[in-house]
């Protein structure tokens, strides 16, 4: 599995969980489905961007920083559209980016079998 696909899947999965946690906030519970779809798309987008970055730049520190940055930025756009819940949206968004950044840098991508 290449880094971009890996980032996409991991970002998507974390995005789903991210959206589902809004269930614990009663006032947004009616919009749960829309939030889950939106945060999944956000996670996928972040995962793809971070995956591409990991393919070009082989540095754990830069990968984590880039992931954090992308996660925070995308979450900021979402929070800005709401006009509120900045902390509740940006903190998990940044965390998703950070985790995907770490994971894509650590992920081994083999184009040929490992044995020789």
């Amino acid at each position: 599995m290449n880094k971009v696909v890996y980032g996409l899947i991991l970002g998507g999965v974390l995005g789903i969980f991210d959206g589902l946690t809004s269930w614990f906030t009663p006032e947004v519970r009616p919009q749960l489905l829309m939030i889950v779809v939106g945060s999944t798309i956000k996670g996928i987008l972040a995962g793809v961007l971070i995956g591409f970055f990991a393919r070009k730049v082989h540095s754990l520190a830069l990968g984590i920083l880039f992931g954090l940055g992308v996660g925070l930025l995308l979450a900021f756009f979402v929070a800005h559209m709401q006009g509120k819940y900045y902390r509740e949206i940006m903190l998990p968004g940044g965390l998703v980016g950070l985790i995907v950044g770490y994971a894509t840098q650590k992920h081994q991508q083999f184009s040929t079998p490992a044995r020789s």
């Binding site: 974390l14 965390l95 994971a103 650590k106």
Partner: protein, 331 residues
């Protein structure tokens, strides 16, 4: 009345058994071992100044059939140019009338003498894959080994894996004319064209091979119907030997299943090629499913979990942190 003591007689017998290398480029160094038909000596090639192994016929051979068989072995080896097969340098007949051939002298350890403490299962399986590659190459050239045992596999000092002793090999297809033509002048009568039928094609009912490693059809002497699956049976037995030597903790159901499939009494159920067998071992080494071992859903989940361990840990970490954040917001 004894004119000579037993000791003198045995020394004379030993001396007379030594090959007469006069008129050749070789100088005898020492006896290195013995094979099915002949004795292997370490000799020095006086022209090139290197050590070689000389395999010399040492059995009574009034009909000359064994000499033809030995030289046939040399010609088969000469057609099989592969890193896993010892190269033959020369072949012919010595001044004492005995057939011989010279090959690269390999220093190393026989597979059955490998130290179980030093070699891990991983190392052993890598060696096994190399054996499969070599035998697969021979099969592609139309040659069956027919006597694959751990004793016929040599691990060189630099890790090279060599399949030895092709004395009872069977040619499924005729080797190229180039290979026969390339034999030295002394051996022109030993080319396959000149082989007596009884030698070039082993008689039906003859049992060749090693007990415990030969296939059931080989043990029944069904010489005519042997095919590459007989060698696959032997490879399965070698695989079993390799992992049963280690502690029971290293034995796994997939490996046992691979060996069992290779050693199936019905050859239709064995692997169809050495490559397929080697590929299954490769899959096992890479932590992937093997064709011989159908997995349960739990095994598949466990494999998946093991493969994506890092991602799973990260997702769980995320969930933990997210929970802590939620709890923090509430307070």
């Amino acid at each position: 009345m004894n004119w000579l003591s037993d000791e003198v007689i045995s020394r004379l017998q030993a001396a007379s058994a030594l090959p007469d290398l006069s008129g050749t480029r070789y100088r005898l160094v020492k006896r290195a071992g013995s094979g099915g038909m002949g004795v292997v000596y370490l000799a020095e090639d006086t022209i090139l100044g290197r050590h070689v192994a000389l395999k010399v016929l040492d059995l009574p051979d009034t009909s000359g059939e064994l000499a033809v068989r030995l030289l046939r072995e040399a010609s088969i080896l000469a057609t099989l140019e592969h890193p896993g097969i010892v190269p033959v340098h020369d072949a012919g007949t010595l001044a004492d009338g005995r057939a011989f051939y010279a090959m690269k002298f390999v220093e190393g350890t026989r597979l059955d003498h490998l130290d179980a403490q030093k070699e891990t299962l991983f190392d052993r399986l890598r060696i096994f894959m190399r054996i499969c590659e070599t035998v697969s190459f021979a099969h592609a050239r139309g040659v069956l080994h027919r006597d694959l045992t751990p004793g016929n596999i040599m691990i060189g000092s630099f890790g090279e894996v060599l399949v030895m002793d092709w004395g009872v090999a069977k040619i499924l297809r005729s080797p190229s004319k180039r290979a026969v033509d390339s034999l030295p002048n002394q051996t022109t009568t030993a080319g396959n064209d000149a082989l007596p039928a009884a030698v070039s094609q082993t008689a039906y009912g003859t049992v060749l091979g090693t007990v415990g490693y030969m296939s059931p059809e080989q043990a029944r002497g069904e010489i005519d119907s042997l095919d590459l699956r007989s060698d696959i049976f032997s490879l399965g037995a070698i695989l079993q030997f390799l992992f049963t030597q280690l502690s029971s903790e290293t034995q796994s159901p997939p490996l046992s299943a691979i060996a069992k499939k290779a050693m199936s009494p019905d050859r239709a159920h064995r692997y169809e090629s050495c490559s397929a067998l080697g590929q299954d071992i490769g899959q096992y080494l890479d932590g992937l499913p093997v064709s011989a071992y159908p997995e349960t859903i739990f095994t598949k989940l466990s494999r998946w979990g093991s493969k994506y361990r890092v991602a799973i840990v990260l997702v769980l970490t995320y969930l933990l942190v997210r929970t802590l954040l939620l709890l923090g917001y509430r307070h």
